[in-house]
C-alpha cells in the first residue's frame, strides 16, 4: 500500500493553461469552471494532506501504536484514509468535502475524534 494515487493532482494542461501566457490564463480561468487554486497554486494547501496530518496528530496524541499509517484517497464524498494499528485494529479517518472540513478518526470502531480538522492542527501547533 502507499499514498501515491491520492488526489491533489494539479495537472497543468487540464484547465487550458497550456503554453499560454499569464494574461490569457487569467482570462481563461474567469471563463472556465476549473479551480483557480488548483490551476495556479503550485504549493497550495491540500484537503487530503490536512486530513492526513490532523488524523495522524489524533492517533499519536491518543497513543495508538500504528502498524500502517493511514493511506488517503479523495473522492466526491471527501477524503477517506485507511490504515492499521499494531494488533490489527483498522484505522479509518474521513474528511468531509465541506468547509470547515470535519475529521472523524476511528480505531477498531472506537471514535477518537469528530470535529473540525483545522482545530486539530492549530492545537498541535500551539503549546498545550
Amino acid at each position: 500500500m502507499n499514498g501515491r494515487f491520492a488526489a491533489g493532482r494539479f495537472g497543468a494542461g487540464r484547465c487550458g493553461a497550456g503554453r499560454f501566457g499569464l494574461g490569457l490564463v487569467v482570462a481563461a480561468l474567469a471563463l472556465t469552471a476549473c479551480s483557480q487554486a488548483a490551476a495556479l497554486a503550485p504549493v497550495g494547501g491540500s484537503r487530503e494532506a490536512l486530513v492526513r496530518f490532523a488524523g495522524n496528530d489524533v492517533l499519536v496524541s491518543s497513543g495508538v501504536a500504528i502498524r500502517t499509517a493511514p493511506v488517503c484517497i479523495t473522492g466526491a464524498d471527501g477524503v477517506v484514509c485507511t490504515g492499521a494499528a499494531v494488533g490489527g485494529d483498522p484505522i479509518r479517518m474521513t474528511g468531509t468535502p465541506t468547509d470547515p472540513l470535519v475529521l472523524v478518526v476511528t480505531v477498531g470502531g472506537r471514535t477518537l475524534h469528530d470535529g473540525p480538522a483545522q482545530d486539530v492542527v492549530d492545537s498541535a501547533a500551539r503549546p498545550s
Binding site: R9, A12, L22, G23, L24, L29, N56, A124
Partner: protein, 594 residues
Amino acid sequence: MPGLSRRAFLATVGGLAAALQLDPMLVGAALAQAPVPSDAPTTLQRTILQGPVVQGRYRSLTAGPGEPHLPRIDVLGREPGPDRATARRSLFYLGHLSDMHVIDAQSPGRIEPMIVQDHSAWASAFHPQDPLTVHVAGAMAAAVSAARTSAVTGAPLDATVVTGDSADMHSGLELRWYIDVLDGVPVTANSGSPTVYEGLQAWPEVTWAYRPGDPGGGEFGDYGFPRLPDLLAAAIGSPVASPGLPTPWYAVYGNHDTLLLGTFDVSSQFRSMAVGDRKATTWETVAGKALTGYAATGSPVQRFVDAVDTAFGTAPGFRTVTADARRRTFEQRDFMTAHFETTPLPGPVGHGFTRANLDSGQTWWSADPAPHVRMFGLDTCNQVAGPDGAVPDDQFRWLRGELERAGAEQKLCIVASHHNSLTLENRAVRPGGDTQALHGAEEFVDLLLDHPQVVVWLNGHTHLNQILAHTRGTTGFWEVTTASCIDFPQQQQVVELVDNRDGTLSVFTTVLDHAAPVAGGGSSWLDLAATSRELAANDWIENPVFRRGSPLDRNTELLLPAPFDLSTITDAQLEAQRGTATARMLANDARSPR
C-alpha cells in the same frame, strides 16, 4: 567486523591531510575521536510553536518541547528488534534542503500584484517575508552546519542535497545568491539602488501588500501585522554572513528553476521587464502588459501606445526603479552552468551536474557521495506549463538502467527530485513539440519498487513535511518530503541511513529549524531570519501551521528490510568514510574567508 588497523588509520590520515592540505596531527586527532551522538540544536531538543495573539489575529512564536524519533514500521511490517539501538552503525548521513525560494523582492521581474486578483490562487506571488529569504537561507545553512554530527550515531555529515526551487522567479541574481549562501559567500540581499529599498513594500499606495513601515489600510494590517519601520532598510543594509554548508552539496531542478513562478513560460516581454526600470504595482498591469498574454490580446496600435507609455514612465500601474542587469532571467541550461561558478569547497564543482550535462543538455545526474551510496538527481519539471511534474521517458529509461547497475554493485540508492508522488501527473506538452512519454507517479513508484536497493526518495515542492511508505510484498522504500524555507515552518531535514545489524535498515529523519532565535525583533541578519519565520507563521492564506505535518512526518525512524547483506560493508570501510567526511569539514572550516 574490525575497524581500520593502526597502519590503515595512519595511511588514511596521511592521505587525507595531503589531499586536503591539512595538518596531519589535526586530522589524526579528529579521526581518533570515537563518534558521539550530538546534542546540537535540532527539533529533537526544541520545537517552535505559535505563541499568544499579539495584535488582531497576529501571533508571536514560542519555544515548544522537543520531539523524539518516532519509529514507523509500515514498510518493515513487523515490530523492530528491541536491541537495535545498541547495535546500529551509521551508513550515510545527509542534509536535505528544498524549496529555498531565494527572492530579489525589489526586482521588476515579479508579479506580486496578482494576489489582488485572487490572494489564495496567487499566494506564492507575494509573501510578507519576501525581502528576507537570503537571511533565512543563511540561517538554514547555519542549522545544517550545527547538525554536522549525527544526533543518532555521532557520524559526520557526508553530503547535502537540494531538491529544487532554489531561485523563486527565474532571476540570475536569485540563482547567484542561493549558490553563494550555500558556499558560505557573504550576500547583501539588495539590487537596483545601492542605498534605497525600491520595492512594493515601501510604497504607500500599495495597500494590498504588507508594508512594514505602515501596515494599515489593507488586509495584512487588518490581520494585525506589526509596524517594523526599519525592516526593509535592515534587509538590504548589511551582508548575510552565511557559514555555508559544511559538506559537498548537490542540486536538482525545481519548477521555479524551469518556468516563471514555476508555472508559466518566460516571455521575451517579461525578460525585458526584469532588467528594466519599471516595476508593476497593479495586477491589471502585470496581467495586461507585463506578460505574454498582453502581446496576444492587444491590437497593434494599442500595444504601440502602451509601449510608449511604458517607455516614458507615463503608463499607470508602474513605478520607476533602478535597473539592474544582474536581474536577467536565466535559461534552462544557465541553471546548470551557474553551479560551476562556485567555490572549490565545500564543492563539488557543478554540484551534481558535470561537464557532460553541459555538453549534452541532460538535466539529471548520478553521483556516489559515499563509496556504497548512489544518489540520483532527477529533473521532474515540466518544460511547458504547470507547477507539477512528471518523468520524461528518456530519463525514466536512464534511471531504470542505472538502478539495475547500482543493484549489481550493491549500492544503497537515494533518489532526489523536486516533485513528490502526489504532484507527478503533469503531462502538459507543447503542440508540435517533444512527443516522448511523460511517466506519472504510478509508473515511477513501480520503477523504484522494482529495485529494492532504493531505500529513500527525497523531494519537496509542496512546502510541507510529509513521509509516505511505498510497499510491495515484503519490500519497499520511504518517500520523504521536506518543507520549505519560504513558508512556515521554514524547516529542512537531516536524513541518516543506519544498519541495525539485524537484517533491517533504519532511515532517521530529523527536522531542522533554521538557526535564528525563536523571537524576532533585532536587526542582525539572524534576527531578520527570525522575523521572517514569524511573518510566515501569520501568512494565513498559506495555512501555515498545517505545513508542519504530523509527528509521523517529522522526527522519525523509518524501518525497512535491508536490501542486501549489509555486513558486506565493513566497519573499516565506514571508518574510512567517516574519516573522509570529517577531514573534508576540517578543510572547509579552515579555508580563507570568502
